[in-house]
């Protein structure tokens, strides 16, 4: 039929072409939109974290003229250092605040007034006096840390337009803060406390130091356990393993473990390491072991790929001059494969650094104020600290959470950049 009437066939095709091209265009656009959606999600996620978190890197201070006379501190006239330590600094701050705003009379207003300054203010004042005893005696202008609620008003996060009932900072407090601001008695500084202190119930005093150190210890254990075991296992499977059922079993297990939900590793840690071996709860030791079991498959799989990619000529040359199999592998193959192995291990470590679910199971969710001193001390890690802060009702913790996320992501980016750098160098060879 086509032979008899070729032009009609062509016509049919031609007529449908416009529609088909339109469909082609549409399909391309679906693809473009999908990729763009991915970009948009990533952008929104990062932008959300950064905008929420960046205010946490500054902290507000209020300049208060504090009366440090022996009466105000409830001390003798010539106190020694011991007595100076016991002075009533909180009372001194309160009375100075009352002196600054003499119009404040009733109790609830006074309470509001005291809430302008952080609870940590008295310790800050005490340390300042102890460091410089000459302050004792006279009225001194001191920069005191503002309460997180007052700080959030000063940072412009609370507006007067919201009905007073719905906000933590009341109208009166806003008036006082405005006055302080006009008198130049407020200041915004970089939040060093965030990096030097542990967790706290007060948002303005809370920091990530304890969690960072906990993460460091946990990762150290993870690396010390997972790296040697992972590399040696990869060497065995790639170079020595005979082709038999047992090897198959090991390989199937590794592939499956890579896809087991992380929380199941937490159950394993709880049942085996804590309940059976009676290792300490909440400790980086157990956390590190659990995370190393979790990252082992990643390290084994990438190390195997790296070892497999080493050119056979290197092996043959080594064997040819009489080296044993083990010498060949450890003196010649592993050094060449090392950049690839390190790349995989760093990616595995980055996974472990961001992981939190299994650590919840083994009790690393405690409230930790003190920086842990070793792998058996109770501690928490950065992602779990983020989880804990995200659960806190105080508004001030939201920005802390985002800031902690920024720090965590910073470390992850650093580790991944290192991995990419190593891979690039490896490829150049």
């Amino acid at each position: 039929m086509s032979k008899q009437n070729p032009s009609r066939e062509t016509e049919l095709v031609r007529a449908s072409l416009k529609k088909r091209y339109a469909r082609e265009q549409r399909f391309q656009w679906y693809g473009r939109i999908a990729v763009m959606l991915g970009f948009v999600f990533l952008f929104i996620l990062l932008a959300d974290i950064v905008t929420k978190g960046s205010p946490a890197f500054t902290q507000q201070y209020l300049k208060i003229p504090v009366d440090l006379s022996h009466d105000a501190l409830d001390l003798g006239e010539l106190p020694n250092e011991q007595e100076l330590r016991r002075g009533d600094y909180s009372g001194a701050i309160k009375s100075s605040l009352r002196d600054m705003f003499p119009e404040v009379k009733n109790r609830s207003q006074k309470k509001q007034l005291y809430r302008l300054v952080s609870i940590g203010g008295e310790y800050q004042l005490r340390d300042a006096v102890l460091a410089n005893p000459s302050l004792f005696g006279g009225p001194v202008d001191v920069w005191l840390l503002a309460h997180s609620e007052a700080a959030s008003y000063l940072k412009g996060q609370i507006s007067r337009d919201t009905p007073e009932i719905e906000r933590r900072v009341k109208d009166l407090q806003m008036d006082w803060l405005d006055r302080l601001q006009q008198e130049g008695r407020t200041e915004s500084r970089f939040n060093f406390l965030f990096f030097t202190s542990g967790d706290s119930r007060e948002p303005e005093l809370a920091g990530i130091r304890a969690a960072l150190v906990g993460s460091f210890y946990t990762l150290m254990v993870t690396f010390l356990v997972a790296f040697p075991i992972g590399v040696l296992a990869a060497v065995y499977l790639e170079e020595f393993a005979p082709r038999n059922r047992l090897t198959d079993l090991i390989e199937i297990n590794i592939n499956n473990l890579a896809a087991v939900p992380s929380i199941v590793f937490g159950l394993l840690g709880l049942a085996v390491f804590i309940n059976f071996f009676e290792l300490p709860r909440s400790a980086p030791l157990v956390g590190g072991i659990v995370l190393s079991l979790m990252t082992l498959p990643t390290i084994i799989i990438t190390s195997r790929a790296a070892i497999g990619a080493v050119s056979p000529s290197i092996r043959e040359a080594s064997m040819g001059i009489g080296a044993s199999k083990l010498q060949t592998v450890f003196h010649h193959v592993l050094p060449v494969a090392m950049p690839g192995i390190l790349t995989g291990s760093i990616i595995g470590m980055a996974q472990a650094l961001g992981e939190s679910a299994p650590l919840l199971m083994i009790g690393m969710v405690a409230f930790i104020m003190d920086v842990p001193g070793g792998v058996t001390d109770p501690s928490t890690v950065l992602p779990v600290q983020i989880f804990l802060w995200a659960d806190s009702p105080e508004r001030g913790f939201t920005e802390k959470t985002s800031a902690a996320i920024m720090v965590l992501m910073g470390f992850l980016i650093l580790m991944n950049a290192l991995a990419i750098y190593l891979r690039k160098r490896f490829e150049l060879k």
Binding site: E24, R26, Q28, F39, A233, N253, P261, S262, F277, I405
Partner: protein, 462 residues
């Protein structure tokens, strides 16, 4: 710390035996005409001595560490008055913990009974004895091992082969840890789950429509027996995972098609790593994003069109989980589409099909098994994901398929049951292990199925 001391002593002994083994081999060789008469290099004899010193002693040390606590507890409890020994395991545990607390100076004497105070001194003696014995026995085993090895050193001893044999054993042991881990997971969840099913019948668990474990702590409560029904959790998990897959599969698959079939090389080289950043973001970050940004946004959106949306809606958790899985689906389908032979593509294009027709009529059908495998893997990810749902999904189990309501999932319940104070023998904590068992087997099934499908698919084109 004492563990460090033992470790350092052991390391020093290993080093000493290495040196002694090396010296000995040189001495032996000197008698028979110099170092050339040795089968292996002197250092191999050293390694051999060090391994013989270190390995058995380290094994003994680890076993001692693992058993020490139990043996001492048994000793202390054995001396306790009879009425204490008749009590339940928790009571004995409490008694013992008080003794240990007093002995280590964390508790006051006035909280304890006189027997406990005397038990504390038993405990201290036992600890001290255990410490000296440990150090002594570990050193003894190390020295004995080293001597045994050093005595065997002759010029014709094949030390290198010996060392390499041991080392291959170590290599095998390292890779066998993967099997041990799986075994550990299965046994630990299985044992606790069996204890759970002894108290709660399996059928109640599998087919019950009510999940309220908090109520079952007290036996006198009405709901004590019927509150471990697992179906609402399953439905909740599937609901959130379905939402996630509805986001992740279209976006991931279409992106993969676009990037592999249409995009310029440069665009692909930039955009693939950028999208893969999504896979590197820690799940706790997604959880925070879901709970504090997406959930309120969806709630407001719903209210503005007159819908009542729960503040912990399944939709919010599902969407964010979907975003998390996008790069996963993307890279799996990308691999699979690239594995379709170019001949198929070229044949279709040669017949005059447009690009999109080639993709829809030829590539996708050819790649379908692989894509299905990838989707199964992604689904197993979604079901096992924990932090997002812990932070953004609800706690109360509700049997509903409405994504605007709050539902709870298996992983959320495992976390809530096990975090915080726990008595290890109550059905409440055991239930977490039963849920863990279900989770492990469901994800295992999906993974095995997916790997099987993907492997069959790969073989088809190889």
């Amino acid at each position: 710390m004492q563990t460090t001391t033992v470790f350092l002593v052991l390391a020093a002994l290993c080093f000493a035996s290495f040196w002694a083994g090396r010296q000995r081999s040189r001495l032996v060789a000197a008698a028979e005409g110099g170092i050339r008469s040795l089968h292996s290099l002197p250092k191999h004899y050293g390694y051999m001595a060090a391994l013989w010193a270190g390995l058995p002693a380290a094994a003994l040390f680890l076993a001692w560490l693992a058993l020490e606590g139990r043996v001492i507890e048994a000793q202390v409890v054995a001396q306790a008055p009879a009425e204490i020994q008749l009590q339940s395991r928790e009571e004995i545990g409490l008694y013992y913990n008080q003794v240990v607390g007093y002995a280590t100076g964390q508790a006051d004497a006035n909280m304890l009974s006189p027997e406990q105070v005397s038990a504390a001194s038993t405990y201290q003696q036992a600890i001290a004895r255990s410490r000296t014995m440990k150090l002594f026995l570990v050193s003894l085993v190390a020295i004995a091992g080293a001597l045994l090895a050093i005595r065997r050193i002759r010029p014709d001893l094949r030390a290198r082969n010996h060392v390499e044999g041991i080392f291959q054993g170590v290599l095998f042991a390292c890779s066998f840890i993967a099997v041990l881990t799986t075994l550990g997971i299965v046994l630990s969840v299985l044992f606790e789950a069996i204890r759970f099913f002894r108290e709660i019948p399996l059928t109640d668990f599998l087919f019950g429509l009510q999940w309220s474990p908090q109520m079952a702590i007290r036996i006198d409560q009405v709901a004590a027996s019927g509150s471990f029904g697992f179906l609402p959790l399953l439905v909740g998990t599937l609901l959130i995972s379905t939402v996630a897959m509805l986001i992740a599969v279209p976006v991931g698959l279409l992106s993969a098609i676009y990037l592999s079939e249409y995009a310029s090389r440069r665009f692909r080289a930039v955009s693939k790593p950028v999208l893969e950043i999504l896979a590197g973001v820690p799940t706790v970050v997604y959880g925070f994003f879901a709970a504090l940004t997406v959930a309120p946004f969806i709630r407001q959106l719903g209210e503005s069109i007159g819908l009542n949306v729960a503040s912990e809606s399944a939709l919010a958790a599902g969407i964010v989980m979907g975003i998390m899985i996008i790069p996963f689906v993307l890279s799996l389908s990308d691999d699979i589409i690239n594995a379709v032979p170019d001949t198929l593509r070229e044949a279709s294009l040669g017949l005059g099909a447009t690009n999109s027709e080639t993709v829809i009529r030829v590539l996708l059908p050819a790649a379908l098994p692989g894509i299905v495998g990838g989707v199964l893997l992604a689904a197993s990810r979604a079901i096992g994901e924990t932090m997002i749902v812990v932070m953004a999904a609800g706690l109360s189990a509700k049997l509903t398929v409405n994504p605007l309501e709050a539902v709870t999932t298996i992983t959320v319940q495992i976390v809530t049951l096990l975090v915080g104070d726990q008595e290890f023998d109550s059905p409440k904590t055991l239930a977490a292990f039963a849920l863990g068992l279900v989770l492990f087997f469901v994800t295992l099934l999906l993974n095995v199925l997916a790997l099987y499908v993907v492997r069959r698919y790969r073989e088809q084109y190889e």
